[in-house]
């Protein structure tokens, strides 16, 4: 302060302005920081929590008795649908029922022996390979295990 009192009036004013700028900067930074601290929890809150996928990696898809050759059944695999197909020779195929194109649920066409998505006419074969139409990727294929009367479907372990 004593140096300011000895300075000229213009210098005092300049210093006053600098001090004002400094105080404004301090205030502004404080306000910005607190605004950020108010907004941050809200933004984090908007992100939905990751819930554990319902069910484990293996689900009971169907009973042997309810399946017939050349038919299919949609079952719950976690929170998404899966498709279990019994071919005419009596083999089981299981795969994700979510079309890789835009996420519709696919169905088994017993007349074509193929898997069909009604939304945009996508076609998959029984191994889930995309054979025609818009789907960009094959369907995820699951392993099938028959234990007695129960047909279990499990996600393929990555090697």
């Amino acid at each position: 302060m004593h140096s300011a009192s000895s300075a000229t009036a213009a210098a005092t004013e300049r210093q006053g302005l600098a001090r004002r700028r400094f105080v404004n900067l301090l205030l502004g930074t404080g306000l910005l920081a607190s605004a950020a601290s108010f907004l941050y929890p809200i933004l984090r809150y908007l992100v939905p929590p990751k819930l554990p996928d319902l069910g484990s990696d293996a689900v009971l898809a169907a009973k042997v008795s309810e399946m017939k050759p050349n038919t299919a059944k949609t079952f719950r695999f976690g929170s998404r649908p899966g498709l279990l197909v019994e071919t005419a020779p009596g083999e089981y195929h299981a795969m994700s029922a979510t079309c890789t194109h835009l996420g519709c649920t696919v169905q088994y066409r017993s007349d074509l022996h193929e898997i069909w998505c009604a939304c945009h006419n996508g076609m998959y074969d029984l191994n889930g390979r995309n054979v025609s139409g818009p789907p960009p990727r094959p369907l995820e294929v699951f392993d099938v295990q028959v234990r007695g009367e129960d047909i279990f479907v499990r996600r393929r372990q990555e090697a």
Partner: protein
Amino acid sequence: MASMASSVRSWLDERFHLEDLKALAQKKTVPLHRYSYWYFLGGMTLFLFGVQVITGVLLLLYYRPGADEAFESVQLIMTQVQFGWLIRSIHSWSANLLVFMAFAHLFSVLFLKSYRKPRELTWVSGVFLLFLMLGFGFSGYLLPWNTLSYFATKVGTEIPAQIPIVGRPILLFLRGGEEITGSTLTRMFGLHIAILPAIATFLIVLHLGMIQWFGMSVPPGIEADWGATPNRRREIRFFPNFVLRELMAWYVALGLLGALAALFPWTLGVKADLFAPAPAGIKPEWYFLFMFQTLKLIPAKILGLDGEVLGIIAFGLVGAIALLLPFLDRGNSSSSRRWVAGMACLFLGYMVAMTVYGWVAK
């Protein structure tokens, strides 16, 4: 950058005449005297209402109404959603402070006699808003669907049912049936997030519009003093002086809310069990406590009449008097002024005493 901002402003000004608005804002003033602090309470109530709207909308992202899902969804908010506990605790704390502020605002306006001509309807809309806030508190209380909220709603809906003739239809309307069930929850949810907010928005706009229209009231004593010696009149500009002070208060309030929510997060309780007995020592929220305690103390029969009904009628009467106060107190004499202040003091004392009594009573 600056030229772009000014060209946008002139574009808008050309169409909406913003300069008029600016002139209006610059003309608005707030009287400055020793009671000026009380002018902040209304704004504070408004701010807390804003906090309720924002946190309420956020809670809607995860809350699910329904007897099977409500408790679980609140549990999800409290345990799984990031900062969900904070949002819900702020909603609960802010609700309580909002009711407190609304009461404080009402009594300050009452003691400063701001309800007198020409501001009668501003007062009436304000009292309606207070009732509405109590309705928000009551309807929101059931939403977590825990034991406390279940019994509070049970008792709370039973009270109007005591009124002769119209009581039962009111109970059925509030509960959506004979008992508190999922249907009650749906009703309270709809009330809490749609109907009450719609009415509140309308009333707040009306309330603020009238305050803008009439300007700030000056208490009679100060007004007389200023009339006698005009050079004592002091005013500050609403914009930016008063607004900045109010913003500062809001900022502090927000910090306080955050601290309260972090240090004393709201509990979730136990999921409502419709067949479990009421837990011992069950009490309503503090702002209903004075009525609750009164109804507990009233004898079953007074002069052959049902004590409960008399109590409810008495509170209804107090509500009606509060609503119509500007029309009941039309005298401008100092004796009528003292009379109203005395009655208000008496009732305020009664409220505080009964609340404390209800708080400590087993």
